[in-house]
């Protein structure tokens, strides 16, 4: 099985790129692959704890929690992007890593495939 690194660069609400990224990560993990999931810019909202499910909005926190439990998934939020948006360490969901962009590049180094999703 391979390793997939996904760089996700959109917002949580207003863009479905993040939903697609999470769905893709979920599918890859289910097939036995490991996934490094990097969120940047507005995508760092995904790391915010206390998200609530509404029918008209994407709710990805539950999926992320389930993915963490597999042991084949790690997610990292861009620390600067998060801090710039007022999401501090104490606001972050359990399981998330917060690092600078070099974490993503290091993950790319050892990845079999890298997919950059979003950026719109």
């Amino acid at each position: 099985m391979g390793k997939l690194t996904i760089g996700s660069f959109p917002g949580l609400v207003g863009s479905l790129s993040l939903d697609f990224s999470v769905k893709l990560a979920e599918a890859a993990v289910r097939k036995g692959h490991s996934v490094d999931f990097w969120v940047s810019s507005n995508g760092t909202m995904l790391s915010k704890k206390g998200q609530r499910a509404f029918k008209d909005y994407p709710y990805l926190a539950k999926t992320i929690e389930e993915l963490f439990k597999t042991g084949k998934f790690q997610a990292c939020a861009c620390e600067a992007c998060a801090e710039a948006r007022g999401y501090h360490k104490e606001d972050t969901m359990d399981g998330w890593i917060r690092k600078s962009m070099d974490w993503y590049l290091a993950s790319c180094f050892s990845a079999d495939r890298v997919l950059l999703i979003g950026g719109e």
């Binding site: 507005n42 070099d102 993503y104 590049l105 790319c108 180094f109 890298v114 950059l116 979003g118 950026g119």
Partner: protein, 135 residues
């Protein structure tokens, strides 16, 4: 082992955050070694194509948004010895000449020069890269 990472910037400088993220992620390669084994590293290059060539224009102002300009980021990339390529055909399409572009970081003491190359050369560099990231 060195892995080549291609950062292709094709979007307008200030329309969304993606362009800025392309540059900052490429520049972050300078500290990636802390996560890697001895002898391993990444080698990024920046290619500005399509609307992305506008990122390299000189004399950008940060007065509107009050944040770092693309010009400053490209200058920093060159200061850190990243290869920066401008697509020749797209510069011609916009009527942009070399003297209008950030081509070096001499003002900060850098030696690296940006290159204006045909798209065929950028495509060859993309094909030689281990991972491709298009912004």
């Amino acid at each position: 082992m060195i892995k080549k990472l291609a950062f292709i910037v094709r979007s307008l400088p200030y329309k969304n955050e993606a362009t800025r993220l392309a540059l900052t992620h490429a520049i972050a390669s300078q500290t990636v070694e802390i996560y890697l084994e001895d002898g391993d590293n990444v080698e990024p290059f920046l290619a500005l194509v399509g609307d992305g060539v506008l990122c390299g224009l000189k004399n950008q102002s940060n007065k509107c948004y009050g944040i770092t300009t693309m010009e400053q980021h490209i200058t920093n990339a060159l200061l850190l010895d990243l290869n920066v390529y401008y697509c020749k055909e797209d510069l011609e399409r916009f009527g942009i000449s070399e003297d209008q572009l950030v081509m070096d970081a001499e003002s900060l003491g850098g030696d690296m020069k940006a290159s204006i190359v045909p798209f065929s050369e950028i495509q060859a560099a993309m094909e030689a890269a281990d991972h491709l990231q298009i912004f």
